[in-house]
């Protein structure tokens, strides 16, 4: 069980004036600025859940993960994971977790991967039989046997990430923190990593906390997502209900008989409806995608369109995850402080 209550974390950053003069000045006078990376966040995650932490760069996701792994101490609030304070009881706590930071390796750079695995086995007290069984499973799922005798520094990014993921699950942790585990990887390797994560979760009930910018990771793995923006949680719930974040919007796809009239129709719609009624209009390959708020109905929109143009077909749908996430990343949703 993971519980975060009212957790906050700030950093000091030194602000330097630009140019050589600024650099010289900073030798004597340092302007420190406080950045609130995480602001009073609360959530609870049950054993065996897979939860996606989403948010734009600098939103506070990695800081949250680092507090949950015990690397960083929170300034305020309380973190309780499996009955322990991750920072204060780091030594005991880290026995139960596996961590992958996509931009760094947890393995020993100069040495063959198998040497890192061997020391992981030793420091986590993994039985030899269990270790061999786990390596066999990883080879079946990830095909790592061909690469584990190479030094980490000689591996490609994808190979290295497969080994990092295997290393994180080698000791059968109760919780795995995966911070952008598929960053920069090709579709084949992404797919292998997702399959392994799902298998670990299903077979061993491993709780998975995942941050990613790849929506396909989220769709493939997470039922629940937590969206963080500017250090605060703006959504915590089912992936399927994330459209609530943008209100009861709907998307209407219009296929015109004469595609060249797209611009005329856009003008007609924009002149009839206010910007808070028709939120945006995208020109797609062979249709127009019109997003409307709950201030107008689909029938009002359709009535106006039919008075202006002949249409071949139309579709009505809820806003998709990507649209909502894109809005969050663009800073168009979330708290404003």
């Amino acid at each position: 069980m993971i519980q975060l209550e009212n957790v906050s974390k700030s950093f000091f950053i030194v602000k330097k004036a630009p140019g050589l003069g600024g650099s010289v000045k900073s030798l004597f006078v340092r302007n420190k600025e406080t950045v609130e990376a995480v602001k009073k966040i609360d959530f609870t995650i049950a054993d065996g859940e897979i939860v996606g932490l989403l948010g734009p760069n600098g939103a506070g996701k990695s800081t949250t993960i680092k507090m949950m792994t015990g690397i960083l101490r929170c300034d305020h609030g309380r973190i309780n994971i499996n009955g322990r304070d991750p920072f204060r009881e780091r030594m005991k706590y880290t026995k139960d977790i596996g961590v992958v930071f996509g931009q760094r390796t947890q393995l020993w750079w100069e040495l063959p991967v198998i040497e890192s695995f061997d020391i992981i086995r030793k420091i986590y007290d993994v039985e030899m039989a269990e270790y061999n069984e786990r390596l066999k499973l990883f080879d079946e799922m990830l095909g790592i046997n061909q690469i584990i005798h190479k030094p980490v520094r000689n591996l490609s990014l994808g190979q290295r990430m497969l080994c990092d993921i295997a290393g994180a699950f080698l000791h059968n942790p109760r919780i795995a923190f995966l911070d952008e585990p598929t960053i920069g990887l090709d579709l084949n390797i992404k797919s292998k990593i997702r399959e392994l994560i799902l298998a670990m979760n299903k077979k061993f009930k491993t709780t998975i906390i995942l941050t990613t910018h790849d929506i396909s990771d989220i769709k493939a793995l997470c039922e629940r997502i937590i969206v963080i923006d500017k250090g605060s949680i703006i959504y915590d719930g089912n992936l399927s209900e994330i459209s609530d974040l943008v209100g009861q919007n709907q998307e209407v796809g219009i296929y015109l008989e004469n595609i060249e009239n797209n611009q005329l129709l856009i003008s007609a719609v924009q002149s009839e409806f206010a910007p808070d009624e028709v939120l945006d209009i995208d020109v797609r390959e062979d249709y127009l995608n019109i997003r409307i708020s709950n201030k107008i109905t689909v029938s009002q929109l359709m009535g106006h369109i039919l008075r202006n143009e002949n249409i071949k077909d139309f579709t009505i749908s809820e806003p998709d995850v990507e649209y909502v996430i894109r809005k969050v990343y663009a800073g168009e949703l979330g708290n404003e402080d």
């Binding site: 680092k66 690397i71 960083l72 030594m91 880290t94 931009q103 760094r104 020993w108 040497e115 986590y124």
Partner: protein, 261 residues
């Protein structure tokens, strides 16, 4: 204990994987010893009256012992700690169920063992044969004292490495440390050539306990009680620095920010 051996072995493998650095280090030390010998040979050939302080044989013995110890004890672990702090890779050490202090110490031992075979043992064999040093009761004390020296210098290096949490650069501090230890611990010139008052002052600093105590245990005419007292003082110095380094680490880790996301 099993994990200690693992980390020592791991770091020895890392050192050996950088074989070019290993070989250059060996040749660099041979050249350094040769130049030092020639320099002091030239000084004594000039007969400037310094032989009344120490004769040439004694100077070479003390310097070579100190330099041999330096080649064993200088692991530059502060550079690796600083690099890990500044790059954010320190998180790797904080995410394993082992104490950072212990892991880094085991890594230091691994590096020192490599240094031992590449530099120190060949030099000490040369010294022991050339100066006809007898392997009497003082020898085990000498070996034990070297281990305490390793703890002392590890703690000094660790404290300097940890300053990266606050300074974001340790080049200046590390360079000063290397120069000060080499000079004040007697690896550049024998301390007998320094003013007597300054020599007495140094006895109250950790520098005395890095190279001088093991060298005195091996070469001085002091009786066993005096030698045991030297060893005791060295152990106390090691304990004080260990406590200090651990306090500084506990304080620094609260300030940690992992650079680069």
């Amino acid at each position: 204990m099993g994990n200690a051996v693992k980390f020592i072995r791991l770091n020895m493998m890392i050192k050996l994987s950088r074989k070019e650095s290993f070989i250059f280090s060996l040749f660099g030390n041979i050249i350094f010893f040769f130049l030092t010998y020639q320099l002091w040979h030239g000084i004594y050939a000039g007969d400037s009256g310094i032989s009344s302080v120490l004769n040439f044989e004694a100077v070479i013995l003390k310097l070579f012992l100190a330099m041999g110890l330096a080649s064993f004890l200088n692991t530059n672990i502060e550079w690796f700690i600083s690099r890990d702090i500044l790059s954010g890779n320190i998180q790797k050490y904080l995410l394993i169920p082992e104490k950072f202090y212990n892991v880094k110490f085991f890594e230091t031992i691994g590096t020192s063992i490599c240094n031992l075979f590449s530099n120190t043992i060949p030099l000490f064999i040369f010294i022991f044969i050339k100066f006809k040093i007898e392997l009497n009761l003082s020898f085990p004390l000498f070996l034990f004292s070297i281990l305490i020296s390793l703890i002392i210098i590890y703690n000094i290096d660790l404290i300097i490495g940890l300053t990266s949490f606050h300074t974001e650069a340790i080049w200046g501090i590390s360079t000063i440390k290397t120069a000060i230890i080499a000079f004040l611990a007697g690896a550049v010139i024998p301390l007998e050539f320094l003013p007597l008052g300054f020599q007495n002052f140094l006895k109250y600093t950790p520098f005395e306990y890095i190279y001088q105590v093991p060298i005195k245990l091996l070469t001085s005419e002091a009786n066993i009680n005096e030698k045991m007292m030297m060893l005791l003082m060295q152990i106390i110095c090691g304990l004080i620095l260990t406590a200090l380094a651990k306090i500084i680490f506990a304080h620094s880790v609260k300030k940690i920010t992992i650079n680069g996301g």
